[in-house]
Every structure is written in C-alpha cells, then in structure tokens.
C-alpha cells in the first residue's frame, strides 16, 4: 500500500500510483482522439473544397510565404524536442533541466505565435487577404481564393488558439515544477501536457504542406 510520501500524490479514487498514471495517460490520449476529429472536420471540409476548386486554392496558397511557414515548422519541431526533454527530466527527477526545458518550450511556442501574428496574419490583413474583414483580392478565381483564406485563417487560428492554451498550461506546469512538485513517482502532469504539445506540433506538420505548398512553387 502507498507509503507516506507517495500517498499525498495518490488521488482517493485510485488504488495505486501506477493506476493513476495509466488513467492520466489514457485520458489524454482519448482527449487527443477528440482533437483529431475536431481538426479532422476542418481537414475534411478543406479537402473537399480543395478538390472542387484546385486552381483557386493553389492561387491562394501562392500568396502565403513559404519561408515563414517553414521557419515556424522548425520552431515547433524544436519545441517538441525541448518538451520531450522536459518530460525526460521529470522522469529522472532532475528539477533544473525540467524547468529549463519547460521555459524553452514556452518561449518557442510564443515565438511561433508572434511570428504568425506579426509576420503572417498582419501582413495578410494589410494585403487584403482577410475574408470578412478586409478582402480585396481581385484576380482570377477570386471567390475560391476567398474560400481558401477562410479555411486558412480558421485552421491556423484554431491551431494557434490551441497553442495559446498550451503555453498557458505550460506556465502552470512550470510553476508546479519550480515548487518541486514533480518526482520520478509523480510526473503525470508533465507527461500528459507533453502529449498535448506534441499533438499540436503534429497538426502543424500537416497544416504546413496542405496550406502553403499546394500546387507546387515551381
């Protein structure tokens, strides 16, 4: 039965720490399954419309900046690395690396959001690519281009919202880590937040080619 130290970490509904850990992981995976379907609905709509309007979607895609998109992809991949290293530090009970890697992950996440807001969205708005707010594109397939941008802003927007939530949760985890709340017996929270973070990275891994690289750049 749980010893004095571990029993403070064990919630009353669980029998032992292993059950609690497995429940937390399974819970996060089930939640990620719902997120797959949530983003999936958007991907489905996007896929249908892209097949119906290939020229317009390609034209819209060409208006995006591939370099910035690729840069942001790299930023997120770095953040996934630091997140994985943070979880590893928690597993080994090493507080300083854990705190360091959590901070790095947060900074990289914030960098992603800042790059997106200032270099991409602001630019798109000023150029007249923002449906409903400021859409002045008037080339061929203008209507399909507008449809493309609706999905672009919605998909990257929902993704960014998830990142903001992720950064916020990381801040809370950081506070807990700073107070020494994690140990090799008790690091569920870091691991489940890590799973969420990697998932957000995966969504972007698909968004980048699907939004920025349509129809090729040759």
């Amino acid at each position: 039965m749980p010893d004095g130290h571990a029993s403070t970490a064990l919630a009353h509904q669980f029998e032992d720490l292993e059950q609690q850990h497995e429940a937390a992981s399974l819970g996060m995976w089930v939640f990620l399954a719902t997120e797959v379907m949530f983003f999936g609905g958007l991907f489905a709509g996007y896929a249908i419309y892209r097949n119906l309007h290939p020229a317009g979607f390609a034209a819209g895609s060409h208006l995006l900046n591939v370099t910035i998109g690729a840069l942001n992809t790299a930023v997120l991949i770095c953040s996934s690395l630091t997140m994985a290293l943070a979880v590893r530090a928690a597993q080994l009970g090493r507080k300083k690396p854990l705190v360091t890697f959590l901070i790095l992950t947060m900074l990289l996440g914030l960098a992603f959001i800042v790059i997106k807001l200032t270099l991409e969205w602001r630019h798109d708005y000023l150029e007249g690519f923002a449906p409903g707010l400021n859409f002045t594109f008037a080339g061929p397939n203008a209507k399909s281009v507008e449809l493309f941008f609706v999905f672009y802003f919605l998909m990257t927007g929902v993704h960014a919202a998830h990142m903001v939530v992720g950064v916020g949760v990381l801040a809370m985890v950081l506070a807990m880590a700073w107070k020494g709340r994690f140990s090799p017996e008790r690091y569920n929270t870091v691991e489940t937040v890590g799973l969420y973070w990697h998932f957000i990275d995966i969504i972007w891994i698909f968004l980048f080619p699907l939004l920025y690289l349509i129809g090729g750049r040759y």
Partner: protein, 107 residues
C-alpha cells in the same frame, strides 16, 4: 519509476530527422511533379507525424490500448473524409436531363 525513459541521443536523432524532412518537403515544392507533389508532401508529413508519435509521444513503448485509441481516431477521420468524398466524387456520374443544362455555369 513509471514509464520508459528515452535516451537523449534518440530524441536528437528524431529531431534532426524532422528538420531534414521539413527541408525536404519545402524543397520538393519547387520541383515540378504535377499530381505527385501533393502525394509526396502528404507522405513526408505522415512520416514526420509518425516519428513524433512513436518517439516523442512514446507510442513505441506504450500499451496496446493507447495505440488502439490513436488508430481508432485516425480510422474515424478516414471514414469521415472517404464517405463524404464518395458523395462529391460521384455526383458527376449521374446524367442530368438536357433540359436542365443551362448555358451558364456558376463557378
């Protein structure tokens, strides 16, 4: 200790692979492959996602149940996209009476 501890070297190897694949997919966009551009991009994206899932998310060492949850979600997404696509894909197969055809096509 709960859970599997992964060596740092593995993480860095995966990290390097992910960056390399990102460079690859960006570069391939500048090569004219016609229809294949999209497929190549998706294959690369799936590879990257697989690396993240297996190694960063520890699915390589996880229980059977987690894998079933993940695969079920992907299967369900496939159901949504494929059955919806059968509708849009096959609409053109049904002939429309000539009297319904108009000279203007709304695009």
């Amino acid at each position: 200790m709960l859970g599997h501890v992964v060596p740092k070297s593995t993480y860095f190897l995966i990290f390097g692979s992910l960056l390399a694949l990102t460079a690859l997919t960006t570069g391939m966009a500048y090569v004219d492959l016609g229809q294949w551009n999209t497929i190549v991009a998706l294959v690369i994206a799936c590879s990257k996602a697989t690396l993240v899932v297996l190694f960063f998310m520890h699915v390589r060492w996880s229980t059977h149940l987690m894998r079933v949850v993940l695969l079920s979600a992907l299967l369900w997404l496939a159901i949504l996209i494929s059955l919806t696509t059968t509708d849009f894909f096959s609409r053109g197969w049904t002939p429309v009476p000539q009297s319904w055809e108009s000279s203007e096509v709304v695009r």
